[in-house]
Amino acid sequence: MTQRTRPLSPHLQVYRLPLTAIVSILHRMTGVLLAAGLVLFVICLAQIEAGSSSFKAMQSFIQQPFISVIIWLIIYALFFHLCHGIRHLFWDMGEGYDKILMNYYLILELFGSIALTGLSFLFLQLGGAA
């Protein structure tokens, strides 16, 4: 009996999202995460306003390795959202719809966001030493 290769509809249990789709949903997820991160911003301001001792308590809290890692993950989320957001702006102008280049843009924005996070990290280390 010959095996015929009929087209199959996506099987939901084994269907793997293409990378473009994953990045697309990550844009929304990082957006929600960053919106939650704004609460942290207000808390930081409140700690500065409350006075020297509460500022120092907050500073030693965020300097803990585990908390620092979380903060850097949020910063990465910010740059990822920023880079993919720029692509959305190009899309809105009617540019960047070439199907062949989709994965290329994707790699560009992933590396861009990693590079920006890395540069910020270096900047913070240098600033700390100064």
């Binding site: 929304r28 207000v42 500065i48 500022f55 500073q59 910063i75 910010l78 910020s120 900047f123």
Partner: protein
Amino acid sequence: MKYQTPLAKAHGLGSAKTGTHHWWMQRVTAVALIPLSFWVILFIQQLFHASYPEMKQWLSSPFNLGLLLSWAFVSFYHAAIGLQVVIEDYLSPTWLKITIVWMVKLAFLGGAITALVLAIRIAVSAG
């Protein structure tokens, strides 16, 4: 049996004159946030490394205070209308959708006002 026309159903559910405003403001705030996001890195650097007097002095300079307030208002606005779209996409019942969207918007307005008050108090106390 209801003798209601489709038009009557649509009345009160929003006007048809500002349909693109929300979409456009999301883009305008997005563009503004590109440079402002880099200022946030400067702010985080201060949070990690500055002493308390340095932190207050840094925040109360007109440059940083201005950027802080710009960043706060633009980002809270961008976040609120962004979350609105997410809520509208995933929440189906209309009453729940409208309630949650209003709660989120009020919360973010409150957050922005809190940030404004705190920043001004920090700047004033720094002299």
